[in-house]
């Protein structure tokens, strides 16, 4: 097991993910349309209704469209993480997860490669989205596009890790609709994606606290500050911590001693 082997394996997994992504154009389009609808329809409508005060990292008043960009970036990555979770459950039912797991490299490494490949795809989606937003006149600071990148890696891995954790727990494809209701929606709405938390606090202290405890809030804030060339250390720290937790649990979930692929094989063996 040489370093070359590790490297080739990593490239192989990333290029497979990229190829699959290219072949599934509907998925790409859907990944772009979703945040764009929010941006162009929802944000335009709420623009008048919501007044935003100046809060860090903003140095001046921003429009609602500008405010929700980080939240929508988070949404792209959240959906992508869930999508790869879905495809991992699917892969497992279809058996192609097995081909991955029987390859001669440590399992944690194979899972990490898969995670990085997923994050890579989500970052492509984010930049495509920012490009379109740019043409609609929603510009970020030029350097922000660059400083955003490391934040996207961290948030992409964290949300991908959540997906992987779920995929190790969920045994059947049919349960996936449940994830939509119980993971994606609460995570997105109970966060700082659509409104600043101080606004939330004005209406309900409990909701405010839930939002603060939501790791998605911190992923979004990490992204928001990165877009302006700043670092929100607390949010970054929490995102990285949650990332480690999710990935650790996911790797445990795929531990062979736990017989994660049971159920199905019991009946077919």
């Amino acid at each position: 097991m040489t370093a070359t082997h590790y490297y080739r394996c990593f490239l192989g997994i990333v290029s497979r993910e990229a190829l699959r992504f290219v072949h599934q154009r509907e998925r790409f389009v859907a990944a772009l349309v979703r945040p764009l609808v929010w941006l162009l329809v929802f944000a335009a409508g709420f623009r008048a209704a919501l007044g935003l005060s100046i809060i860090p990292p903003y140095e001046t008043y921003v429009t609602f469209e500008v405010y929700i960009i980080p939240g929508l970036i988070g949404m792209i990555q959240l959906f992508n993480g869930m999508q790869s979770s879905l495809s991992m459950v699917y892969d497992r039912e279809m058996g192609s997860m097995r081909t991955l797991l029987v390859s001669p490299l440590p399992r944690w490494y194979l899972l990490m490669c898969k995670l990085l490949a997923g994050a890579f795809v989500s970052i492509l989606q984010v930049y495509a989205f920012l490009l379109i937003a740019y043409f609609f006149g929603i510009e970020m600071p030029p350097l922000g596009y660059l400083t955003l990148f490391p934040a996207l890696v961290v948030s992409g891995l964290m949300l991908g890790g959540l997906g992987m954790l779920l995929s190790s727990v969920i045994k059947q494809l049919e349960n996936f609709a449940g994830i939509m209701n119980f993971v994606i929606f609460p995570m997105f709405f109970l966060s700082s994606a659509l409104y600043p938390l101080w606004k939330m606090k004005e209406s309900s202290l409990l909701l405010y606290q839930i939002c603060l405890a939501n790791p998605f809030t911190h992923a979004v804030e990490t992204i928001r500050f990165a877009l302006y060339g700043q670092v929100n250390f607390l949010s970054l720290l929490i995102t990285v911590g949650v990332l480690a937790l999710f990935v650790g649990l996911a790797i445990y979930g795929y531990n062979p001693a736990r017989g994660m692929m049971s159920r199905k094989t019991v009946t077919t063996g």
């Binding site: 082997h5 192989g12 279809m94 058996g95 192609s96 001693a257 692929m261 063996g269």
Partner: protein, 261 residues
Amino acid sequence: MTEQARGNLAADATDGAALEVAGLSYSFGNRFALEEISFAIQPGEFVVLLGPNGAGKTTLFSLITHLYESRNGTIRIKGADVRRRPTRALAQIGVVFQQPTLDLDLTVRHNLLYHAALHGMGRQEAQHRIETELTRLGMYERRGEKVRRLNGGHRRRVEIARALLHRPRVLLLDEPTVGLDVPTRRGIVEHVHRLCREDGIAVLWATHLIDEVFDDDRVIMLHKGLIRAQGSVNDVNRAAGVNSVGEAFDVLTGDEADSGP
């Protein structure tokens, strides 16, 4: 026998069995799936793991490929313990799973390149191995096609080519002919026998179809997680007190008539 096969056999002779399973047990909760399984396969040997559905064949495969882990018993691939040195052991195994595991939306070639990368092969070596193995199975012309467009028999052939890409010393096939018509099945059974002879690969072929057993194969009869008999076709027939594998299958697995194929 090819030059390479002779080399393989000579090298194998020094470190013994290609696959060795000793005292292996596994249970799902409190239900035993496998109990005290022991057998060994030598290089160049074709062993048929025969048993009705639910006998424990797939569980055994999952343990050998380290998808599951058991604390009871040992599995060694060319001397490497699967539990303690999984990467070393897995590098020498080729697997064809019962369910198809190809990416339907990718081409045959991309599927194989992916597998080659997982096994750490360089681009050039991978291209060369893909050409060799696909040609052997008569699939080289179709390398550019999406797997979705291939029929079941051709998909199986691609999976066999894939399993052989990294030159494994042990080839595991879990009911590889399920869902195929008789001539296609026949072709695949014969091809794998040829591979076993020519390359000196140790083959473990799981099935519940007795017509896939050749006269000079070794047979392991598995039923309800226990090995009921093992040895040459004659040995197994003698153990069951009958004259054919078919009858032996019925006798040795007959205590539960409704579990048969």
